[in-house]
Amino acid sequence: MAPERLNADAVYHACDIQRFSFNTTADIDPLEELSEALAQPRAVESLKFGTGMQRQGFNIFALGPPGTGRHSMVRQTLDKKARQSHVPSEWCYVNNFQDQSRPRALEFPAGQGRNFADDMKKTILEARNALKASFESEEYQNRLQAVQQEFKDQQQKAFEEINNKAKEKGLSLVRTPNGIAFAPLKEDGEVMPPDEYQRLPEEKRSEIEKKIEEIQEESQEVFKKIPRWQKEIREKIQELNNEVAKYAISPLIDELRKNYGRNQETSDHLDAVENDILENLQTFMTGGQQAQQAGGPMAQMQQQQQPGFVSGDETDMDSPAIRRYKVNLLVDNTDQQGAPVIYEDNPTYANLVGKVEHMSQMGALITDFNLIKPGSLHRANGGSLILDARKVLTQPGAWEGLKRVLKSGQIKIESLAEMFSLLSTVTLEPEPIDLDVKVVMVGSPFIYYMLQYYDPEFTDLFKVAADFDVQMNRSEDSQDMYARLLRTIIDREGIRHFDRQAVGRMIEHSSRIVGDAERMSTRIKEMSDLMSEADYWAAQNGNTSVTAPDLEKAVEFRIYRSDRMRQRIQEEIERGTLMIDTAGASAGQINGLAVLGLGDFMFGRPNRITARIQAGKGEVIDIEREAKLSGPLHSKGVLILSGFLGARYAPDRPLSLKASLVFEQSYGGIEGDSASSAELYALISAISNAPLKQSFAVTGSVNQFGQIQAIGGVNEKIEGFFDVCSRKGLTGEQGVLIPEANVKHLMLRRDVVEAVDREQFHIYPVSTVDQGLELLTGLPAGQPGEDGNYPENTVNGMVQKKLAAMAENMRQFSQGSEQGGQSES
C-alpha cells in the first residue's frame, strides 16, 4: 500500500516558543558552566575522571570537531579542579660547582623560591662587603704581616749566614738584578775594583776565586730552598685568608641555612657556595677583574703573598665571578592561587620543555645556568597543561619531546639544534626536574585515531579520551538550557539580546545544522558566528534586540554568500543544459538526488539516473564504477541490486540479464549508496518497461530484501529538487520519496514547508521498494502467490515475466550455440 504524504508539521519540527517564560534573553540567567547546556556527559565525566586520576599515563585527549566547546569545557573542568588543589612547588636552577655544565635543580615550597633568590643575592653582596672589611681590618693586616715576616726572617737569616761566611772569607755580597753575587773586599772593607784585582798575584787571585766558588755553591743551596719557603708561605696565607673569610661569610650563609636548609639539596648547595667563595676569594671580591700585576718575578712573588684585592662593582650581579652564585628562579608561584592551568598557544619544542639560551661574548657563544629558560611544562608542573594536538604534531620535535617528558616523568632540557647537530657550542645538561602534570590535548577525532593507530606510545600516555559530540538531544528541558547557552554566548560576544522568536528560530536552525529535528548542534563557534551576524542585521534593521527575521536574514545571507555554484546548477537545469524532467513519465529513467559539499556549505541537486538492459549473465554494470568515477560505497549499493533482483525474481534460475546504470551528466566522482533505491527503481522500470513519474525525485539506500534505509543530507536533497521544480513551475504533482527513517531528520526550508502545506509539493516516507514502485509507476507492486509468482499487471509480475522470457531466450541461445559448435567440430 502506497504511503501517505507528510504534512507540513512533519517536515519542520518547530520550537514551541509559547512555553518559554521570557521575552528576551535578558530575562534569563547565563550558564555557570558550558557543560550544563552542552549535555556532553561522556566528555564531561571523562574529563573529571582524567583530572582526578593521578596515575602516570592518564593524560587526556579531548577529541571532537572544532567549535564544539572543547577548549572551554576543558578549561572549566581543569580550573575547577585547580581551585581545589594546592599551589605546587617552585623550581630554581643553581650552579653546580663540581660540574658547571650540569646545573642543579632545587625545589622550594610555593613562594620560597623567590625569597631564596632574593636572599641569596643580598647575601652575596653582603659577603663581598664583609670580606672587604675583614681583609682591610688591622687584625688581618697584622696577621698577614706576621706570616710574611716569618718568610722574610727565614730568608734574612739564611742570607745573613751567607753574608757572614762571605765576610769571613774576605768577600762581600753584591745584589744583582735577579739574585746575588760575590766580590772580594779590600783591607778597608770596600769592594775591590776589578782593575785592582787584576793586579793581584796569580796565587792570591786563585785563592779568592776558590773562596768565591765555595760561597757561590753554598748560596745556590740556600736559593734552592726559597721556592719551598714561598710555597709554605702561600699556603699559610691561604689558610689565613680562608680563616678570615670563613669567619666573615659563615654567619651570612648560616642565616640562609636556617631559613632554607631543611631541604638537603639546598643545604648541600649552600655548603658548595661557601666552599666556592673560599676557594675563589680573589675572583669573588674583584668580580672577576684581575689585579694588575707589575714588577719582576720577585715583585710578583711579593704581590702573590698579599691578597691584593681590587674591589669590583659591588652591585654588578652579572659579572662572571658573581653570576655563579645567583639563583635562576624558573617558576615563581608566589601569586599563584591553586594549581596552575596553562594553555600553550605555540607549543614548539623549546616552548614546551624550556631551553638554554646563549649570549655572545668576545665573538663566542657562551651560556650558564642563568640562561636556562622554562617551558610551559615547567609552569604547568603540579597542575595542568592544555595543548592543541595539531600544533604539537606540526612543530618539529615537539610531539617526541612531549612524549619523552611524560614517559620519564621528568623535564630534561635538551636543545633541538644540539640534538640535530646544528649547533656546535658550549651547552648545558641541566639536572632533570620531576614532573607532575596533567596534559590535556585537544584535537580532532581524526588526529586521535591516527595517533592511536600509528603511535604505539600514544595509548600509554593518553589513556583517557574525552569524546565531544557535535550534537545533543532536543527536548523541552534541553531547549530551556539552550536558551541560557545563547544568553552566555550573547554575554561573551557582547551582542544584542535575542527575543523569544529568535531563540526559537535559533534552536530550529541548530537542529537543521545537524540535520536532525530531534537534536541540536553543539558547535558553539558556528552558532556564535551566526548570532553575531544576526546582531549585525538587527543593527541594520534598527532593532534593539535580535528578532527572528534578523536571524532569518543572517541565515539567508550566509547561504547567499556561498551558493554561487548551486545557483549555476539550478540555472543550467532550468535552461535544459542539465537534463532533469519534473513532469511526465519515462521507463528506465529516474531523478536521483545528490548532495554537494563546498566547504561548510552543502546543497542538494537532482541527477538523472538511467538504466538499460539486455540479455546477459546476471551482471549489473555500474558505469560510474567502470569509468572509475564512483567510490566503494556507491559500488557496494549497485552490487546489492543484483542480490535483490536475483533473490526476488529469479530464485531458481539464472538471472539472464545484463543491465547498465549511469548517473547522467555526472562528471565528478560519486560516493555513497543513497541513490541505490533510485537505481533499483530505474532498473525495474527498464526491465518491466513500466514508466516512472518524472515529477518525483528519490533518495534512500536499499538492502537485499528491498527495504529502504536512511541516508544523510535529506533536507538538502529535498530542497535541491524543490528548487528545480519551483523554477520549472510547481504542478502539485511533484515531490520526493525519502526513507521513512529520515522523517525525524526533516527541518526543511520555510518555502518548502509552505509548498508542502499548500500541497504543491509532496514528501513521501517510503520503507520498501514496493511502496516506492507504486508511487512512481502508479501501478500495484504485486505480492507473490503461493507458487512464488507475481500477478500479471503488477510491476513485479511484469519484471518476473520479462526475466523469465530472457532466461528462456538465453537457454535457447546457449543450446543453439552448443549444437552449432558441435556440428562444426
Binding site: E138, Q141, Q145, Q149, K152, D153, Q155, Q156, F159, E160, N163, L173, V174, R175, T176, P177, N178, G179, I180, A181, F182, A183, V191, P193, P194, Y197, I208, E209, I212, E213, Q216, S219, Q220, F223, I226, P227, Q292, A294, G295, G296, P297, M298, A299, Q302, Q303, Q306
Partner: protein, 286 residues
C-alpha cells in the same frame, strides 16, 4: 700654627721624587707618593738608576749571579738588557698608578752610582719618597740608599715601611723647637689636604711641661688662619726617643709620622733605629 711663621703653608709640593727599583717597598713608596700628589696637586718624578757599580762588577772573572731559578755568568751586555727591562716594567707600573690617581708624572733613567744619583736628584725635589729597604735580601732594615739620604739629604724625605695605604690621623712630634713647630705646620697642611685629623705627640717629663707645650700649640692654632677646621689631638709620650715614639707608633703602622729631625737630636743612627723599629711612613722634616 707655626709659632714663628704664622702665615702661609709649610707643605708646598710641586715635585715629588720617587727613586724606584722592583721591590715591594718601592711600589709602596710610589703609591704613597701618588696619594700625596693627588691631594697636594704635585707631580711625581720616578727615578731609576742603572747601577754602574754592577757593570764594573761584571769585569771580575768570577762574576756570577746566583738566583732562585738559575745561576749565570754575569755579562755586561746582559746586565744592560736587564736594566732596560726593569726600567720599562717600572715605568709601566708608574704609568698605571699615576693614571689611577690622575696626577702628572715623569720617569727618568739615569746611569751612575745609585746613592750619588739619588742624592743629586733630591736637591731639585720638594719631597723624596723612598722605600725603607730596596731589593735587599738581608731583611727589612733600612737600606744603604735610605741611610745615605738620612745622613746627607737636605730636603724632606718620606720613608715608607709596609705597603699599605696611609690613613688618618697624622702624627707629629712637638718639642717646642722651631723645627718641631715647622713639622707641626707640615703635619697640619698634610692633614688639611687629606681631610684627616692631626695627633700631636708631646714628649714631656711631667704634666706641667706637657700642658705648657700643648698650650703653645693651641694658641698658635688660634692665630693661624685656616686652622679652624683641623681637629687636633694630643698625647703625651715618653721622652726616651726613639723607644717612646716606637711604643706609640708600632700598633698603628698605617698612620704617618711627621718627624722633626731634632726630636731625634739630628742623630742619623737614632732616626734609623726608629725607622727599623716601626713600619709607619716617616716624613723627615729638617
Amino acid at each position: 700654627m707655626n709659632p714663628e711663621s704664622k702665615t702661609g703653608r709649610h707643605l708646598i709640593l710641586k715635585r715629588i721624587l720617587v727613586p724606584l727599583d722592583e721591590s715591594e717597598y718601592s711600589r709602596a713608596a710610589l703609591e704613597a707618593a701618588a696619594q700625596l700628589a693627588s691631594a697636594l696637586d704635585a707631580e711625581i718624578s720616578g727615578l731609576y738608576v742603572e747601577d754602574t757599580d754592577l757593570i764594573d762588577f761584571c769585569r771580575f772573572p768570577f762574576a756570577r749571579e746566583i738566583g732562585i731559578y738559575r745561576s749565570r755568568r754575569l755579562d755586561p751586555a746582559e746586565i744592560e738588557r736587564d736594566f732596560r727591562t726593569q726600567a720599562e716594567r717600572i715605568r709601566k707600573t708608574m704609568a698605571l698608578i699615576a693614571k689611577h690617581a690622575d696626577i702628572p708624572w715623569n720617569f727618568t733613567v739615569r746611569r751612575g752610582r745609585v746613592i750619588s744619583e739619588v742624592l743629586d736628584q733630591t736637591d731639585s725635589a720638594d719631597l723624596t719618597v723612598i722605600g725603607r729597604t730596596g731589593r735587599s735580601l738581608l731583611g727589612t732594615s733600612a737600606g744603604s740608599t735610605v741611610r745615605h739620604l738620612i745622613e746627607e739629604g737636605k730636603s724632606m724625605t718620606l720613608i715608607l715601611g709596609r705597603g699599605a695605604r696611609m690613613v688618618e690621623p697624622v702624627f707629629t712630634v712637638y718639642t717646642g723647637s722651631n723645627l718641631s713647630a715647622r713639622a707641626l705646620g707640615v703635619a697640619a697642611d698634610l692633614a688639611r689636604a687629606m681631610g684627616w685629623d692631626t695627633e700631636i705627640l708631646i714628649p714631656a717629663k711631667d704634666d706641667k711641661d706637657y700642658q705648657a707645650l700643648r698650650d703653645q700649640v693651641l694658641s698658635a692654632a688660634e692665630e693661624t688662619p685656616g686652622a679652624e677646621g683641623i681637629h687636633l689631638r694630643f698625647r703625651r709620650i715618653r721622652k726616651d726617643a726613639p723607644s717612646g715614639l716606637a711604643a706609640v707608633l708600632q700598633p698603628e703602622y698605617r698612620r704617618p709620622l711627621v718627624l722633626p729631625v731634632d726630636a731625634m737630636d739630628r742623630d742619623p743612627e737614632a732616626i734609623l733605629d726608629l725607622i727599623n723599629r716601626v713600619h709607619n711612613p716617616i716624613l723627615l722634616v729638617r
